[in-house]
Amino acid sequence: MQKISRLARRSPVSSLFPNQGGKPDWRARWAACRRGAPFQLGLLVGSWYLLLLLARWLGVAQLTGVIGMLALWLALVHGWVRLEYVRAGANWLIAHMLLFFIPAVLVILDHRELLGWTGLKLFLIIVLGTLAVMLSTALSIEWCLRLARRRQAARRWRHIRQQHGGGAAQGNPPHEGGWQ
């Protein structure tokens, strides 16, 4: 996350004025502006807002973010939008995501009951539930990958055996490599 934010902070305030002294090169300024986080941020928020109005009109306002994400992803895949024209703004938003959570945390001011018994129960649910989620997710992926790896190794081993007519088949199966 820190790397992202450092990239995002390289906003081109100084590069807005590339050739000082001479005639202002408007095209260079415009190009630098488009690559900067503030301009891209405005563009992202602006297009999100337009999409929100459209989604509200269609009655699916809750899905605006997801629809926008799919649309931007499609646009990037098809080359309608170049990565460098959204990257700085998007990375800034993601790096500072915590900021947008803060107003939500303060809701405990309206839910004082969370500081008592109910809060303890919720905390218990969060801890136990999160442990269950982490264990099941990590182990299912680990076992799945291990199975795939083993199958692949066995297939490769059979292949080698066939090619070398049993000559190479005396040793142990090839060692399963690391997991990178």
């Binding site: 996350m1 820190q2 790397k3 297009s47 999100w48 899905l63 605006t64 973010g65 997801v66 926008g68 994400m69 649309a71 931007l72 992803w73 895949v77 990565l83 959204v86 703004g89 998007a90 990375n91 938003l93 993601i94 900021l99 947008f100 959570f101 803060i102 107003p103 939500a104 945390v105 303060l106 809701v107 405990i108 001011l109 309206d110 839910h111 969370l114 109910t118 129960k121 919720l122 905390f123 218990l124 649910i125 969060i126 801890v127 539930g129 999160t130 442990l131 989620v133 982490m134 264990l135 099941s136 997710t137 990590a138 182990l139 992926i141 680990e142 799945c144 291990r146 690391g178 997991w179």
Partner: protein, 234 residues
Amino acid sequence: MMGIDWAVPLWSALTLGVYFAARRLYLRMPRLWNTPLLVAPVVLLALMLAAHVSYGDYIRGTHWLLAMLGPVTVAFAVPIYEQRALLRRYWPVLLLGALVGSVVSLASAWLLARFLGLSPALQASIMPRSVTTPFAVTVSDGLGGLPDLTAALVIATGLCGAALGSGLLRWLKLRSSVARGALFGMGAHGAGVARAHEIGAQEGTVAGLVMILAGLMNLALLPLVRFLLRHYLG
């Protein structure tokens, strides 16, 4: 004659100021307990209690910050696009992990909340706690929960999960970096992604992808969960 609502500039400026100060502190001294997500709310809470301001007044001034989670969701398209090689290679297992994790998270929260006798609104609010806020708020709203409260619970999950995950990783000894990253992305969303980036680049990338996939998965499971709750489990 329209009066100016002073709550907007005042509380927005205070929130932004406190956040950036807390962030600077964290960058200088990165510890789990002084994350901006803990320090900034505590400072703001103290200010609000001192000035006798209610949450209603505060949120009237800062609601636009919460709304910015919409553009954040849109922005997730960029890392997904940038990591397309990883996604193309591992999408079946990542999808499997997101599915297993989402089902376990919804089921465990529902079971535990019922067992502990929480109100239906609280049950619905805590069910989508494992996914990143923009998605969780949408799911909570769809289940009849309180979106504000869900956001707070999601954040509590992120903070707990980032701490729990490190201990769990030491104990589990996972061989694949994909599983290590997925553990953090599924269990602790944003805070977990930050933690996974500290462990390794691939772990961080996987965590980010799984976090987004989990959000989409929860959203996809929403109609099914709503149906089950209404007809069988309610």
